[in-house]
Structure formats: structure tokens, C-alpha cells
Amino acid sequence: MSDTPTAATLILGARPYGEAPLDLLIKDGRIAALGEAARAQAEQLKAEQVTTVEAEGLIMLPGMVDLHTHLREPGREDAETVETGSRAAARGGFTAVHAMANSSPVADSAGVVEQVHRLGRASGWTEVYPVGAVTVGLAGERLAELGAMAESSAQVRMFSDDGMCVHNPVLMRRALEYVKTVDGFIAQHAQEPLLTEGAQMNEGDVSAVLGLPGWPAVAEESIIARDVLLAQHVGSRLHICHVSTAGSVEIIRWAKERGIDVTAEVTPHHLLLTDELVRGYDPVYKVNPPLRTGADVEALRAGLADGTIDVIGTDHAPHPTQAKECEWSAAAMGMTGLETALPVVIKTMINTGLMDWRRFAEVTSITPARIYRHAHQGRPLQPGEPANLILVDAEATQTVDPEGHASKGRNSPFRGMELPGAVRATFLHGHPVVLDGELNTPLSEASAGAAGSSQVRP
């Protein structure tokens, strides 16, 4: 089946952006027709060529785009591989993910980014875009070959030392300037290292009682404040990864009012969980930046709703069991997120009335695609557009069971939680990689390459 992407799919009665139901025909990797025209065109095709998907009650959205994913390959294939991470992405409703550079070896050269890119195309469950490291080995000392990575077959546009902060202000300035030459942008992990030496959790009331070294909000906010000013000074594009504090939202709001070209991301877990969860010392709640307070959660939700924060980024960070089954201070930081992002955003933003499905599509798909300048992701649900889209059952509820996840990581902080919403289908270039909520078949490599360059084979 995956070798015959020429087949058409007729989706019946789905509600684009949660609005009035429409039929939609996918053909040759693109949206061929909408509404009446969809059925009419489908009838002109041979019956065996058309797969019909009954989608009454389901919401149709552009496929989600994650600017912040850790796929662990190369180097930590016990934690995740491009293949397993891509499967998790497809199940979670993502048609593109951006693999952070902190692999081993670090993705700081054309060779590594090309390898990750190639593995992504081979897997065929989602599009995989490698993120290039800003500095060699994420060491924060000298710039990596950003130009070579940009010109490689992976065509890297996004550069980040995520996991580490580009804390040297001169180096950060140079990086912001240099990426202008390749039309790229820097995604900053904002964490002042000296203020967070040995930090284990949010510094505040809970850390005081638990006796865990604190990660103060100011360590994030001071870097963001510095970097928005640097971005303004050199006229470059800055993206702030995983914003976690109320103060950060204020600084970004201020920067945007001044016209600074900054975008910001929030993770699903920072929209829902607080540092109160650390009280039991379960390392599944250990993450960087740390879970913050209830007031921060409120500010992040408000910031995402009003546009101060632009996108959802999962910061999907799978770890092997032993990295979490140990003392809190010895445990690895990070949580899985690809397969729970959509339900968590529905719970925190849609079901609270803070945003509608149009805004949902913006923060999960349209804006992240625009930030990366993808031409074929995050597109309108209109005829002629690439068919990267998902069908969502917003009425469903699911109890999170990490054992059932496609990711290798079992470190989901949402384990046992009942969350609303479920991805029923994911179409990648028109091919259903997920159907009926389960993995279907991957897109073949040849058609994936063709679809990316908008030449769909007959």
C-alpha cells in the first residue's frame, strides 16, 4: 500500500478547525478538492483507487510541526532512534519534527545532520529536520560550521545548543549575526549556567522544603532579556526554546512590542504541571527547564493564548528506564512528549476556553512551519496544498499509558492521567501514516522526497 501513494483518500464529514463539516479529497499527496467537489471528483475515480475515511465529528487540522524534539540518534539508540521517534511523532499528529543537536556525536557538522536527515527520510513516518549545533560539541566556545550544515543535503536553517545555553554574550552575538548569512535562526536554551550550577528543580517554596538546589527563574529571564536585545542590535532572528516562567513571558511581550524579531515556544508539560509534583522525588518530573509554579503555568497559558508565545514545542526527551530509576539528583532531565502533546494542549488551552482550534493550528503547525520557513507544512486546508493533516477526536478521553507508546521512552509525567482528545489519523503528503489511531504504514522514501519538492509521482 505504501508503494502506491497515487491512491486517493476521501475524508467524509471532518470539521476543519472544528468548524462546519466538509468532505475533502486527497490525491497525489495534495488536497485535491473540498466540499461538494471532493465527492464529485472521487466519483470520477475508480472505486478501488479511493479509500474512504468516515470522519464525522472529527476535527481536521494541519499536521503538527514540532520545533523541539530529541531523537537521540546517533549515540543513544537505547533511548530512542529516528525510527521510533518518528513513529511516536506520527501517532502524536506531527508531520514534521526538528531533531535537536545533542546527539553523540553532536550534530555540529554536515556529516551528522545529513545522517539524521537520511534516517528520517528512510523511516517515512514524519518529516525529520535536523537542528544544527551553534557551537562545536555544544561546548559554547567556538561556532560550528553553520554554513556547511545549511548547504548540506539537510539544508539546516535552525541552530541550537539546546540542553546547553549559548551563554557567552559575544559568541551569541556572533551566532545571531552569522545565521543571517544562511537565512537561519538561533533557538536559545535560556539558562545562565553559573546561576544554575547543580540545579535540580525550580527554586522556590518547594525546593526550600525539599532541600534540592534551586534553578531560579532569573537564570532564564536574564538570558532572554540579553538575547532579545542582542537580536535587536544585530537584526537577526531569535527563537526562545521552552519558556517556563511568568517573567520570561513579560520580557518577550516587551520585546515584541518593540518589534524585535523573536519567537517563543512553550512545552505541553509547562502548561500543565507544577513543581508541587517534585515533592515525592519521582525523577519522572525532573526536566530542564524545571516545572515551575502554578502562577507560571497561568502566565504561560495566557501568553500562548494572546500570541506572546508563538508555538508549542514538545521537548520530547526520552530516556532509558535506569536514567530515571535512581536518586533524583542522579536522574536525567527530560520527559517524553510527542504522544501526549495534543491531549495536553486540548486540556490546558481548548477545554479551558483560552483558545480555539484556529489558534491551536497556529501554535502547533502554522507558526512553527513559518518560523522554519517550510513551504509545505502548516499550510491552509485548501485545494492545491500539500496534504499534511490530521484528524482529531476531541471528545475522546484516554488514560496515558507510556507502555503503549511508540517512543522507546517510558518517562511520561502524564502516566495514569486521563487526558482529552486523540489523534485518529495522520496524513503525511497524503499518505495515512496513522489510521484509526494506530500506526498504518510509512511513506516510501521516493515519494517522500518527491512530495517535499512538490513533484508527486503519478
Binding site: G204, S207, A208, V209, G211, L212, P213, Y281, E327
Partner: protein, 331 residues
């Protein structure tokens, strides 16, 4: 009570039960036959991931006086330092037949994790976890304070608490598991608690704690004889905090926060509501000349040696109460 992880978990009733039991244990310790058959046939493991000879010996003496079998597992220099996980270590001890694990660990929360992990059915006693808590130290301090407080009021200590007592805790609150455990327990027992420290050694969020906070020891000691504390607990200053990271020099620390001879004299002039002198406590080992002067260390107001003997009584009480309430049946 299944485990002892934090004094914050102890109700007033439970705290008094431990202290009252410890009084009986202390009485036993004065008899010719100091041994009790209470925990005959049960096994207590001292699992120490961090050196602490004093605490280990105290627990060992407590367990042996109750006739338990004691195994000491020092995780330093063992397979643990070669990467064996806490889980594997503990499951090994469980398989050997331990009934209680007394654990000292460098990581905050390690005892709570162990108790909540499902890796073992043993009773878990926190013998100090990172910079979190050290509940048995707080209990022995409370036993010491209660002895003095009830004696001043002409009462039998059994069944009484510390209502109305004013206790100052002086020093590195931020990194002190002793301070945290003491604060919660002293509040549960009705004492008023004052913390005295440089602002660098107080945790962010301390203003929400049920305590008074002073940056100046002189201010906390008050001026008139009525104004002073009923007890002052001097915390040990760790060498690694000195040298400019948290305060400029040891000498400046001593001048501002040390129990110097001059402050000792002021303290000695204080009289509590019942006419008693203030008590001086220190969890040991003392840094003479840094947080406490030699004269204060040797003062008759100093309770350090009583604290040590009360440590054994309190640990006997905790072992008795936890192990005899254990519902686990080891066939």
C-alpha cells in the same frame, strides 16, 4: 507509622509517642542490664552512602540494645561506587532478609524514593538525605530540649511538649538537613522557632516558613534578660561554604553569627520564664572558634553530650515503633 522519612510527616501524637518511648529507652540505658529483647530475630541494615561514623554507631547501638541483628553496608568503596543502582543494592538487602533499612544518602529525597519505590518492604528510616532532612537528629534534639524545658517547669517530661519554648537555630539553614527537620518538629511540638543566618544561607521561600528570620544574631538574642531564647542550636559551618562563596571569611562569620565568649556571657545572663538558663545545642562535630567558641563548647549550658546519649534512646524508640508496627510477616 511505616517509615520515618521527614519530621513534617509526624503528628503531634506520633512525635510525643516517639519521645515518650525514648524516655523509657533512656531509663533502660541506666540499668545494669541495658539490653532489651524487643527486636530479637529482626535485622536492621545500616546502609550508608555517605560517611557518618557518629550516626551509624548511634543506630548500631540502638539496634543492638533492642537485640536486633545489625548489618552495616557502607556504600563507599563497594559495588555501589562502581555503578550499582540503589534499586539493586536495596533488593539485595531485602533478599538477605532485612526488616529495616537505616539509610544515609548524599541525595535529597533518597529515603522517600526508597520508601515509595516498591523495591522493598523494609521499614525505611532516613538517617540524613542530602540537604533535605535528618529526622532522628531533630528527635534527639527535641528530647534534649524537652528534658530541660520540663525540668524547668517541675514536670515529668512524659506527655509534655515544647509549647512556649523559644528556640533559635543559627547558621547554614540553606544546606542543613538538621535545621529542616528541627523546624517542622519544633513547630509541631509548639515551640517558637527563630532562624539566624546570613541571607546567603537562607533558602528562597523561607518567608513562608512558620518561623521568625533574623540576619543578626545580636538582634535575635535580644537585649534584656527576659528577651532571650530558651535554647540556641548552633549549626556546623561546612568548610566549602567559606572562602567567599556564601560569606566573605570565617572570621567575619564568627564575628556576626558565631557564639562568641561575649555572646555566651549575654546568653548566660538570660533567664527563662521559669528562671532557667538557656540550653546550647550543636549537632556535632563542633568547629571550635568558628560557629562556637571554646568556652561555649565547654559551657555547662552546652548539651552536646546529652544529645549523643539521647540519640541512642530516640533511635531505639524509632526502631521499636516502626519494627513492631510493621505488618510484614517474615516467615
Amino acid at each position: 507509622m511505616r517509615h520515618l522519612l521527614s519530621t513534617a510527616d509526624l503528628s503531634h501524637t506520633q512525635a510525643l509517642s516517639i519521645l515518650d518511648t525514648a524516655e523509657e529507652m533512656a531509663a533502660v540505658s541506666t540499668r545494669e542490664v541495658k539490653k532489651l529483647p524487643t527486636l530479637r530475630g529482626r535485622t536492621v541494615v545500616n546502609l550508608f552512602f555517605e560517611d557518618s561514623t557518629r550516626t551509624r554507631i548511634s543506630f548500631e547501638a540502638a539496634a543492638k540494645r533492642l537485640s536486633a541483628d545489625v548489618m552495616n553496608f557502607s556504600a563507599k568503596g563497594s559495588s555501589v561506587s562502581k555503578g550499582e543502582s540503589l534499586k539493586d543494592t536495596v533488593q539485595t538487602l531485602e533478599a538477605i532478609g532485612a526488616d529495616a533499612i537505616v539509610m544515609r544518602h548524599w541525595a535529597s529525597g533518597a529515603a522517600a524514593q526508597l520508601a515509595g519505590s516498591g523495591w522493598t518492604d523494609c521499614a525505611v528510616i532516613n538517617a540524613g538525605d542530602g540537604t533535605h532532612e535528618h529526622p532522628t537528629q531533630a528527635l534527639l534534639d527535641a528530647l534534649t530540649l524537652r528534658r530541660g524545658w520540663s525540668a524547668a517547669h517541675g514536670e515529668d517530661p512524659r506527655g509534655t511538649d515544647l509549647t512556649g519554648m523559644r528556640v533559635l537555630i543559627v547558621g547554614d539553614i540553606l544546606h542543613s538537613r538538621v535545621a529542616r527537620s528541627n523546624i517542622w518538629l519544633l513547630r509541631t511540638l509548639g515551640a517558637q522557632v527563630g532562624l539566624v543566618a546570613p541571607a546567603t544561607l537562607l533558602p528562597v521561600g523561607v518567608e513562608k516558613w512558620p518561623v521568625s528570620v533574623y540576619y543578626s544574631l545580636d538582634e535575635a538574642l535580644g537585649s534584656g534578660p527576659e528577651a532571650g531564647p530558651d535554647a540556641i542550636m548552633m549549626l556546623r559551618v561546612q568548610a566549602e561554604r567559606m572562602g567567599g562563596a556564601y560569606f566573605p571569611t570565617a572570621a567575619e562569620y564568627t564575628r556576626r553569627w558565631g557564639l562568641t565568649d561575649e555572646r555566651l556571657a549575654r546568653l548566660a545572663a538570660h533567664r527563662g520564664a521559669a528562671g532557667q538558663r538557656p540550653m546550647i545545642l550543636h549537632p556535632g562535630p563542633m568547629n571550635r572558634g568558628v560557629e562556637i567558641s571554646a568556652a561555649a563548647a565547654d559551657s555547662p549550658m552546652n548539651q552536646v553530650l546529652d544529645q549523643v546519649s539521647h540519640g541512642v534512646s530516640v533511635r531505639m524508640a524509632v526502631l521499636h515503633l516502626l519494627l513492631s508496627s510493621s505488618e510484614r510477616n517474615t516467615a
